[in-house]
């Protein structure tokens, strides 16, 4: 579907939402210790984006267990949400925003928080010669 601009999108398509992911709003307020019908779907979502390791190959249960709590906390940390470990309204609202299909966490390394930064310190050597560049990689 390509449109020159959004007003060219047929009214019937304009405000379709993502039915599958919108169903996640039913989990608003869920927290550790609960058992909620369909909660396994949200575990599959978190595994899709790397928040639950691929090593969990079994069938997910509907229990709000430690696996899910850890995934929610890391997700909230990555997206600078309040780290509650619960599926609060803000977290659910963020989950259903359209996104890139690439994971945020790969091989256990959170691609959004490995803190990799390079900073350059320029130390001018005495006598004003060519500045020496130091790179400090964290």
């Amino acid at each position: 579907w390509f449109f020159p601009n959004s007003s060219a999108i047929p009214p019937s398509l304009r405000n379709t939402t993502h039915v599958f992911w919108d169903a996640f709003s039913n989990f608003t307020g869920c927290h550790h210790g609960q058992n909620v019908d369909g909660l396994f779907r949200i575990k599959k979502y978190f595994q899709r984006f790397g928040y639950i390791p691929e090593t969990y190959t079994g069938n997910f249960t509907d229990d709000f267990d430690d696996i899910l709590k850890n995934a929610v906390e890391l997700y909230q940390k990555n997206f600078r949400l309040n780290v509650t470990g619960e599926l609060d309204a803000l977290t659910i609202k963020h989950i259903v925003v359209p996104r890139c299909g690439n994971p945020d966490v790969v091989n256990g390394t959170s691609l959004m928080h490995n803190g990799r930064r390079k900073t350059f310190e320029v130390n001018f050597s005495p006598g004003g010669k060519v500045p020496r560049l130091h790179t400090v990689k964290h």
């Binding site: 579907w1 601009n5 959004s6 999108i9 939402t17 600078r80 359209p98 996104r99 690439n102 959004m112």
Partner: protein, 194 residues
């Protein structure tokens, strides 16, 4: 910015990269022009060049629009949700969800009333970052931030994006860090520094 584990990047002898579209996708020149602009945003700031060729089987980067399960183990999911994905170097695979309402002109105004309109160039610039080796960024304004709200257009690289890509490939000698060089007057520095 972040990188994929192992910091994969295109090798030094392959900095003139080619890209092609899946011949099964009937794309107009306008749509192809969106991708050319998106590639141009990255080549303006680093020592990479991108050329569109016809041959889908020999190009470095292959671009296709597909629906649902398209054979790479990462099925698309209909309107909204996941919009596209791309693989780290040297894979070159770039897949977009054909079920989305892709807006190609990027006009912002009438976007706001339409919740299911997705700006094609914004998604293309992001996914090209992955094709070149960038992971997701926690800087919300950056191109490499994982989510994009519908009706939003985000195509300009931020310093976070530029820092990441220049860490991988160095800077474009003509890029002075503020306004990208005019593509038509690009020349290579032949001074004593080479």
């Amino acid at each position: 910015y972040t990188l994929f584990p192992g910091e994969p990047r295109w090798p030094r002898d392959r900095r003139d990269l080619t890209y092609a579209f899946d011949p099964r996708n009937p794309l107009t020149d306008e749509v192809k022009g969106v991708f050319a602009r998106a590639f141009g945003r990255w080549s303006e700031v680093t020592a990479l060049n991108f050329t569109n060729i016809e041959s889908f089987t020999t190009s470095d980067i292959t671009i296709g629009f597909y629906t649902g399960d398209h054979g790479d183990g990462e099925p698309f999911d209909g309107v909204l949700g996941t919009l596209a994905h791309a693989f780290s170097p040297p894979s070159g695979k770039f897949h977009l969800d054909a079920d989305e309402n892709w807006v190609v002109s990027g006009d912002l105004d009438s976007f706001l009333s339409v919740t299911a309109a997705v700006d094609l160039e914004s998604v293309a610039v992001h996914e090209i970052g992955h094709l070149l080796g960038l992971g997701h960024s926690s800087v919300e304004e950056s191109i490499m931030y994982p989510t994009i709200t519908t009706g939003k257009r985000k195509v300009d690289l931020t310093s976070d994006d530029v820092e990441g890509i220049q860490y991988l490939y160095g800077a474009n000698p003509n890029f002075n860090g503020t306004s990208p060089p005019a593509a038509t007057t690009r020349e290579r520095d032949t001074g004593s520094f080479g």
